[in-house]
Each structure stands twice: as C-alpha cells, then as structure tokens.
Symmetry: C2
Subunit: 476 residues, 2 copies
C-alpha cells in the first residue's frame, strides 16, 4: 500500500477531490506504475490512508470503472484493468510499435503503395470539374454514378443484382456497423467463425448481442455442429470471411459455401460476407464469393477498396438484399449521413480512367511475390514442431504451435527482438488462450520480406528451444 500514501489532494483547488484522485490513479495506470491486475485498496482503507471522505473514493473508483481502467470482482475487491489486452487497440498498437521494427503483426499494407500521383490527378480533375458541387449533399446510399461504375466494373458479369442494391460505405468496418444497426437488437444471437476478426465482435458486442461460434479448421467445417448451433441459438446472422479467412487463411470449398447458403435459407438467417481479399488468389483453383452463389438474397456482401488496394482511402460498398436496401441506407443516414462526396467522385474518376486496373495489377503482383516468398521461407525455416496450413492466397499465415506454448509470452519475447506478431488469443471471443499465431505479410516491404521472415523463424526456434530447456530444468 506504500504507493498510495504519497498521493496528495489539494482541497483549495476548484477541482473536486474525487476528480483529482481519479486523475492521479489514471495517470499511474497509464504510466504502468500500477500494474495490471494488481489490487487497489478498499474504500475504507483508502479513505483512512488519505484521510478523506469515503464518498470521494467511491466516486473516483466509479469514474475509473466507467473508463475501463479498473474492474471489480464481487467479494474480492477492486483491480487494475490490463489496458494492453483491449482487443480493439491491438491493431493500432501494432502500427504504433512498428517504426523500425519487423512488423508481421499488422494486416494493413504500408502506405508507400498508395498511387499518390494518379490520385492527385483524379482529385484535381474532380475539383476543377465539379467545384463546390463535389462537396454537395449526397444521397445516403452513395453517389449514383459511382454506384453505376462499381456495378459495371465489379459486378455485372458476376452477380444478378441491381445498382440499387449497392450501398457506399466509408470502409468495411462501417459496413459491419451498418448491418448491425439494421438487423441486430440487444440479446440477439450472432454466429461467427472462431477465430475471427475481432473488430466485428466489438460491434456486435456494442449492440448487446450474444455469440455462438463455429470452428475454422483446415480439416473442414463441421456442418453437423453448425446446424445444431443454428437450431439451438437461432442466430440472426452469420459473420464470415469464406475466402482466405482472417486470421487462418482458410478458404471454404464450393461445397461448403453452398451448404452455408442452404442452411441460411432453411433457418432464415442472413450471411454477412466480409470479402477481405478474395482477389488475392494465387492458386489454380477458381474461387467464388458467397454472394456470387447466393440465389435467395441471403448474403450481405462487404467490400472495401481501401484495405488492400488503396490503403487509407476509407471507401467501400455493400451489396444488400433488396428487402434490406431501405433499412441499410437509413442506418447509413443516422450513422454519418453520407460518405465524403469528394472521395466518392474522385474514386469514380479513378475507376473510369483505368487507374484502378493499373493499381490492382501492381498490388496483385506484389502480394503474389510476397506469398511465394513466405511459403518458401516457411517450408525451409519453420521449426519442426510448428504447423503451417498453407492458404491459397491472401496476406495471412496461421501457425499452430505445440499445445503448451503460451503465445502471449512468445509475443513478448519476439517484441524484445523487435519482431511483432499477432498472438492467436486476440482473434478469439473473450481473448481465449490460443497456441496459434498469425503472421501477416501485408505491411513489410517486399524486398525485406525474405530476410525478416528468416529472422522470425530463427527467433521462434530459439524461443521454443529455450522453453523446452526451462521446462526440463523445472522437471529436474
């Protein structure tokens, strides 16, 4: 309790004592002076230490709890929250740490790939041509000529939908948010893959939803379990990334895709397909999206232009069943009214002038080379007791370690060696322990990838070696 005795509150300040106390403790948590999961004094004890009213402590604790800095265990006391494991911050953390580090943790491509000159040309064209109108009020659904252009370039040949079913969004994350607002209420069940993209989980949680999950496993989807869970929980929707799933890289077979569609029809749930990277197919096997196979308007399809091909643009689209068009555009309206008209118009010009096609080829070719570098390095350098299920494309590789490996400790060990990975637990509901890790080739420069991946494999080997020896010593 020593660390609490030197807290000084100033009665003469206009600021309330409880706010002063709140600020001091918060600062200690952020500065890691108060360690995660360590215990705070009880209200009675603390009020004695500081010689102040109990109410002041209660109020300060309430503020800290509201801000997710501390948590209470019934009958046990008040503890410091581990702010570093907050899953929503994982991705930004990886970016933040990544200066001068080997970043195999982030799935977001580096910004150097952005076609600045082409984009600049398009944006200046738009500003000259449309002037202030580029900033005029937009339909919540999105600019009609952009939607027509998207239809022409990406959809016409593949899917039997109308331009009206296209909803412009400010990135895939917003897509998931809009679908949640349109379809989900507190208490509803959502089915997700396990592991999955936790940014989606965060949204569903924020709607007050409950979860049921289906395991993603390279031996295939267990549809008996799938159907049993659907019957038991009656989920409103199934959130899936059927091609190069994040984080596992798994791709559903066409048979599995049809089975999911069949079940969605039979049990009337929607499928939310986050098509994160289906273009990055480096195998000879043709793959289709669920939306292409959907004959019954069960799939809500989410596509971001900015995740892989134009990182940072914050633009994408949804394809929504006709029956949901209005609900989704209402949700967009109440979320942020409309997506920047300037960005929409600029992207339309970018598409029309075939700058997109050029950028697409560039990025595809680069990721293809990265994919071959990674599969080659893993084949030759991975330790024996690490299993890679080779994906057919995408940017992620999912490595399974021995069951007894603590991947969070591994994460800390590698971080000290300036290597960032994503430990498996961040992709599970409630941060469940996992003996897998995700290696992403998205943000490392292509020319450095081979060297970096070899360094990673060697460090992994060292860690596993050390761990075995430590264990032996413990046994002795």
């Amino acid at each position: 309790m020593e660390e609490f005795k030197n807290i000084e509150l100033d009665d003469s300040k206009s600021e309330y004592l409880y706010i002063q106390l709140y600020r001091i403790i918060k600062r200690k948590i952020i500065d890691n002076e108060l360690k995660p999961n360590s215990k705070l004094p009880s209200v009675r004890k603390f009020s004695e230490i500081l010689n102040i009213n109990k109410t002041t402590i209660v109020k300060a604790y309430k503020m800290l709890e509201d801000g997710n800095y501390i948590y209470k265990k019934v009958g046990s006391g008040t503890y410091i929250y581990d702010i570093s494991t907050n899953e929503e911050y994982i991705d930004s953390k990886y970016i933040e740490y990544s200066r001068n580090k080997i970043n195999l943790g982030s799935g977001i491509p580096s910004e150097e790939l952005f076609p600045v000159e082409d984009f600049k040309e398009s944006i200046n064209y738009v500003l000259d041509k449309y002037k202030g109108k580029a900033f005029g009020y937009q339909d919540s659904k999105g600019d009609e000529s952009l939607r027509k252009m998207i239809f022409k370039i990406f959809i016409k040949e593949k899917m039997d939908i109308t331009t009206n079913q296209i909803q412009i969004i400010s990135g895939a994350q917003q897509g998931i948010d809009l679908v949640s607002k349109a379809l989900l209420n507190a208490g509803d069940f959502v089915m997700t893959e396990s592991p999955t993209y936790t940014g989606a989980i965060a949204i569903f949680k924020s709607r007050g939803c409950q979860f049921t999950t289906i395991n993603i496993d390279y031996s295939g989807i267990d549809f008996e379990e799938f159907e049993r869970k659907v019957i038991q929980y009656r989920p409103k929707l199934f959130f899936t990334m059927p091609n190069f799933q994040n984080p596992t890289g798994y791709t559903y077979s066409e048979e599995e895709k049809l089975k999911v569609l069949e079940l969605s029809k039979k049990y009337s749930f929607y499928i939310v397909e986050d098509d994160y990277s289906s273009e990055l197919n480096f195998s000879n096997i043709k793959i289709k999206t669920l939306k292409e196979l959907d004959k019954n308007e069960r799939v809500i399809y989410i596509k971001s232009f900015s995740k892989i091909f134009l990182p940072g643009l914050r633009l994408g689209y949804l394809i929504v069943p006709e029956v949901l068009e209005k609900k989704i555009s209402s949700a967009k309206h109440s979320t942020d009214i409309y997506t920047s008209g300037l960005i929409q118009k600029t992207f339309e010009v970018f598409l029309k002038d075939e700058k997109w096609a050029k950028q697409f080829d560039l990025i595809y070719e680069m990721f293809k080379q990265k994919y071959y570098i990674a599969t080659d390095v893993f084949k030759n350098h991975l330790p024996d007791n690490v299993k890679l299920n080779k994906p057919n494309g995408g940017v992620n590789f999912w490595l399974e370690l021995n069951e007894n490996v603590d991947t969070n400790k591994l994460y800390d060990y590698l971080l000290k060696k300036n290597i960032i990975i994503a430990p498996g637990n961040v992709f599970y509901l409630n941060n469940k322990k996992s003996n897998s890790i995700r290696i992403s080739v998205a943000s490392v420069e292509k020319d450095k990838l081979r060297e970096y991946l070899i360094v990673f494999c060697d460090s992994l080997k060292n860690y596993l070696q050390n761990e075995r020896e430590t264990k032996k010593i413990q046994v002795l």
Copy 2:
C-alpha cells in the same frame, strides 16, 4: 381490389414466386400506384385472386414489412406505409426537390460557398508533402497535430481541457452516434428537447432507447418539469442545442444554462451539446456554450466544421470528459476505425494557413446579411395571425400558426407553388402534429432571399385566407 388482379407471376422463372410478388408490390408502392395508408388484400383473399398458395403471400408480406413498405394493424389488416413521411428522409427529400424551387426547408448551406480553390491548394500541398503517408493508418482519436491545431485555434482561450479530450469525427451525426454507442444501452432513457433535430432521435431509437422530452418555448424552460422528469425517468443523457436551437432558434439564457449544468451534476446525467451554429450570433448579447460553463465534466460537446462553414467536408470534433475518452475512441474504432487521413491533414493545413479564418468571415458576414433580410421581411410581410419569436442568430426561423392550421396541408400547398418549407411535425417524436413551421435561410442564395421570402409570405397569406373561407362555407 382491381389493381391486384392484373399481377402476373411466372412459375417457370428461377426466382421464387414470393420474391416476384414482393418486387411487384414494392414497385407499385414506389411508383405511388398503391397509395399510402391504403389497405392490401388479406392473405386469404389475395391467394384466391392470384390463385397461389397462402404461404407465398405471407412470405411476400413479411419481406415488405421488413423493408418498411407496409405495416400491420392488429385486427384490421395490412396497409401501405407512407414512405414520404419517414423522418430520416425529410432532409434528403428537401435537397432532392430543391432544383428550381424556393428551398426554405433545408438547413444545409448551398455548395457554392465552398472555397474550392483554397481547399485545392491545401490538398495538393498535403499530397506533395506527405505522399502515401497522407493515407496511412490514423489513430482512432484523430491526427494528433490536427487535434493540437484545433485546441490552439478554437479551445485554448475558452475551455480548460486537454488535447487528449478532443476526438475527431466525420461530421456531427457521427458524433451523436459515437456518444450513443459509448453511453447508451437498450431501454435507457434519453432526454431531448421538443421539438428537436430528428437525426439524433433516429440514433437513440436505433440503440433501443426510450424518451422523455422538455418543451422549448420562448417563454423559457420549465425547470420544475425538467427536474421532475429527470427524477422520474433518470435519463442517461440530455441532448440539447442550447444556442439557436434547431428548429426553434431559441437560445438558453446563461442562467438556464447554469441550471441545466447544476441538474446534470445533481442527477449524474451527461449533457450532449450539439453546437450547431453558436458562432452565428447577430445580437449584442454574448453567448457561451454549455461546455465553456461546465466545471464538472458533464458536457460532451459536438462541433461540425462542415455543417455551416465548409459544407460537405464531413469533419468535426468532440470534446469528451476525460473519463469517457477511451470509451469514445473505442466506439470510433469499431464504427469506422478512423476518419480519412487525407481530409484531416488537408484541414489542418487549411487552418494553419488562415484559410479557415477567411472562410469564416465570409460565411459569417453572409449569414448576418441573410438574418437581417429575413427579420425585415417577416416584420413587414408575415400575416397577422402568424407569430415569429425572433432568434438572436443562426439560420432558422420558427413560425407559429393558428392552432387549427394543418401544417402538412400547408406544406403540400406551398410545394405546388414551388416553395419548400419544413412542417413542424418532422421535428417531433413520433411525428406529432404541430402548428409551427421552420423556415431556414441556409440554402437560398443571398441575393434572391428577399424576393423568395416575400413570395413565401404572400403564399402563406393566401393559404390562410382560403382556409378561412373553406371553413366558413363548411359552417354555412
């Protein structure tokens, strides 16, 4: 029932019959062939007319209901929804209709005022200086140097907060959405002004909230009622526009502002202050925002740069109490990860180069002139039995008509004369009947404003005159 007999479904198509039927009815509703609030045949009757299975009708009706095209009245039947009164579409409707019309309905300034050349200069500077980095990953909270710039220009002299409390948002609407996600759960009570901005209501409804309201009236706020309702409903937050309130134009006195703050402290609710237009003060009375007066971190302050001064930019900021910083930035992360880095950087440069100051002066001066034109026209041309409570600034004027005037009929009448107004009911919870209308000077060109407002006043006079005569005839 004649209109239903000629419906033809095609059994040989791959499309299900119920989807065919759904599409046909939907088309008829959109084309206004089926009128709002008219009745659809019962399931039994309809299945006889079309000679198809009842289940097909049930399924088609279900889809139409999901899409808000039809609604059921228990014990009475199924009716066509009036899609034109959907409050979320009102604003976009006013814009849509406004080509070649006198648009006194929309509160959004016309796009001609956008400083395209200055903006173009800033955006090109950013693209040249930062290249791809302008598109790099951003903190969910927003670009730090933009936040510092906002602090320096807008906040330093006025409020005792830190840069950390500033959260960048893609417009005010998103601000309300983030606050809702951070603070509200299904079933929670929200207190709003009545009338109010219905875009906020839509968000709170979407969170499953319940409502209690406080009347906005130029005779002052009834704080007895306010406190009674707070005690009864224990709202989590109070949504308010204390300066030049939308739609009424009412400004709280400083005493009233302090009273609201006092109650928020006493009963621990947050105040969400949508500072829509406090800069547009054309009186000699200095006004303050609630946030400036807030000593207890009870106010969440929402500011959009794009509503008045840079229409269409989609950028703004929140000031959040320290205790909510993390919750709000988490909500931003799960909503759309971050606001376009390009727009953030460009706006920072726009601020730094004092282009903002220039634009501000231009817009302020223009709205001031509009305000004086409007007050002058209303003074001399409003019919006797129409009451204007003169606001001290802003862009909206709230006209009270006789109690028995149906402002929706008035809306239709004026629309036929190419004049668009906003009937009062759209600003009330559940579209409550209102005998007031909102006249906004935002989107009409300054040089045409006098003429247009006189035309409006004359048309209003005619309408009221005709109405009185019709009533007389009915009495005779």
